[in-house]
Subunit: 404 residues, 2 copies
Amino acid sequence: MAKTVALVGTLDTKGEEIDFLRSLILARGHRVIIADTGILGKPHLKADISRREIARAGGADIDILKEKGDEAFAQSIMAAGLKEIILSLVESKKIQGLLAIGGGQGSIIVAPTLKSLPFGFPKLLVSTKVTQAGARPFVGSKDVLILPPVADLAGINRLTRTILTNAAGAISGMVEIEQPEIEDKPLVVMSMNGTVTDCGLAVKAMLEKKGYEVLVFHTIGTGGEALEEYVKSNEVVGVIELGVNEITNELMGGLASSGPDRLTAAGKRGVPQIVVPGSADFINFLGPETVPPRYKRRKIHSHNPQATLVRTNVRENRILGKTIADKLNQARGPVVVLWPSKGLSTLDRKGRPFWDPEADMALLKALKRHLDPRIPLIESDAYINEPEFAQAVFMAFEKIGKES
Amino acid sequence: MAKTVALVGTLDTKGEEIDFLRSLILARGHRVIIADTGILGKPHLKADISRREIARAGGADIDILKEKGDEAFAQSIMAAGLKEIILSLVESKKIQGLLAIGGGQGSIIVAPTLKSLPFGFPKLLVSTKVTQAGARPFVGSKDVLILPPVADLAGINRLTRTILTNAAGAISGMVEIEQPEIEDKPLVVMSMNGTVTDCGLAVKAMLEKKGYEVLVFHTIGTGGEALEEYVKSNEVVGVIELGVNEITNELMGGLASSGPDRLTAAGKRGVPQIVVPGSADFINFLGPETVPPRYKRRKIHSHNPQATLVRTNVRENRILGKTIADKLNQARGPVVVLWPSKGLSTLDRKGRPFWDPEADMALLKALKRHLDPRIPLIESDAYINEPEFAQAVFMAFEKIGKES
């Protein structure tokens, strides 16, 4: 069945490429809606959604944007307008996929749209910017296919032609393929990482045995962002947090932050939460050269060349405990906090490099001090990755589910 | 027509996902060849290319790799073996596309293969690693489609199912779509960036008018890498270098390096080269926080929030001049160096922030001193982005082409 693909780009500088992509997608039997995010130059071809419409949806007049000459402002207007128009087309099922191409400006304008499209919606960005500045500023925590075009998108030549043809093929294939039916199991969302894997997999297995489906997000920054985003917009019966390191990273300047809104979506929607302060013993960095000087004298663990962990101290864990408590106190649904007394990660255990009972105790005390009394804090005499602790998490989850 | 897709992953930890992808690609009417890059666990399904074969192609026995327990070594063996096997399948036209999925280990093992596949060959990587560590370690300067799977690839659930289905759709669409015929125009490769755009576009237009096709690479690190890679493996009648900043970055620790081999591929193949030391006036960094302390007191220009430029000084330009000369002296083909006396970039011109005749002169002197006398150095009394200078570049190119 024919589908409709939105093609997004600046028709002044990327008009030739958009025109080429359109012809390929039409040749596959699909329909195309072209959105022009250009601002200054003359469009190379006619858009279905003009820059004027986009600027208007963003709250401004395109002529005024041009005259004003404030590039950053114009980009933000076009970005907001594009997002509104595209999301409403998705909502009304008028488009089934989106293909955007961009240099710097084009990529910046389409970024908020890409970050807002639903998970699973076919979306592809061909951008010269993603290999240098990284993909995250443009795609956030979303499942955007990214294609670095290698050569400049400055006209059609034998290399860009081949690469754009692949992009057209990829978006066509995505809108054509049938998405499998989704079973209607109750869904649990879980956060996890390599230092709490045994706990996570054990809890997951117990939940699956009981007929739940479990979605796991890795607490490396984007994972937590995706978790929040997912919980915000999908039906979820419970959230189990086994890694709080993204919150530590946000507070302490680490490189695995999920922004200030981590640990809030479930609370806002009243979804039951089990929270284990797992992985509270470290701040994440990438290569050793990315560890700031202020942490050089801490205990440091090199997990692999792209993962260096810094031990949190008493002061930091106090702040972390208060922050977690403040977030959970806002929750509209039930919350239970579980505490594994014998260690918070594979590294934080007797005999392991980050074992530091004093720092852990500071976190526990801060939690006790700041948590709303209606939120139970259950202490377990186990290490986080022991089977008993996974059992305790599972039981707490079953109990909270029945009560809510 | 049915195509064959290579499916690559560790069949112990990602077997379920590979199996699911296989069923989708088969359902589209294509063939699948599965390569198992797993090392430790039991494969979830039978591979067409077993881990044993891959290890052997990499020069080791899989049982010994397992026993030895040296993860990094085992990964390097598997990576080398996979690359050899896949490239030979591509060579003999037995596969028309490659889809790889991976967590940390899987992504590291497939990276050298992805970096070696020809431009335009359909290749897609679903990896949990690319949003955190960046895509470049895994795809280099190649046109690899990258899909961040958002949730952990730890079993099939409603989210991974949707995302993997999109991946299967994308690779199917890419192998299905017909690549356009390539016209047989003589091909010129050019390096360029935003500070020498006027020169680049003017030269490009003159070349196109004469019947050449021009491929432009942006000198931001990956661009130069791609340029070298492209010149190495394709028929090119000439290379015009308008930006040498990637070499400066390699020498001075900037963030737009293309590695030590920049400015060598054309020379090795004897391809005629016109070299303009454009953009020699700066070292590239990303945000202002990425500028190392040693440069804090230099002239710094903030181009945009993700592009901060540091002015090169006399000492650095001497080193740069010698380095460029040493590289060009090795060239087996003809080389001409053109020097725009009135400025090397939009920033390095009278009245502009990086205008520094002394630093520029140091570069010119170093070039004169170290360049082989057989390499002409033509000084032009123009600024790099003036039409006269573009004309001079074009004329030098025509002349060198006739002589070679």
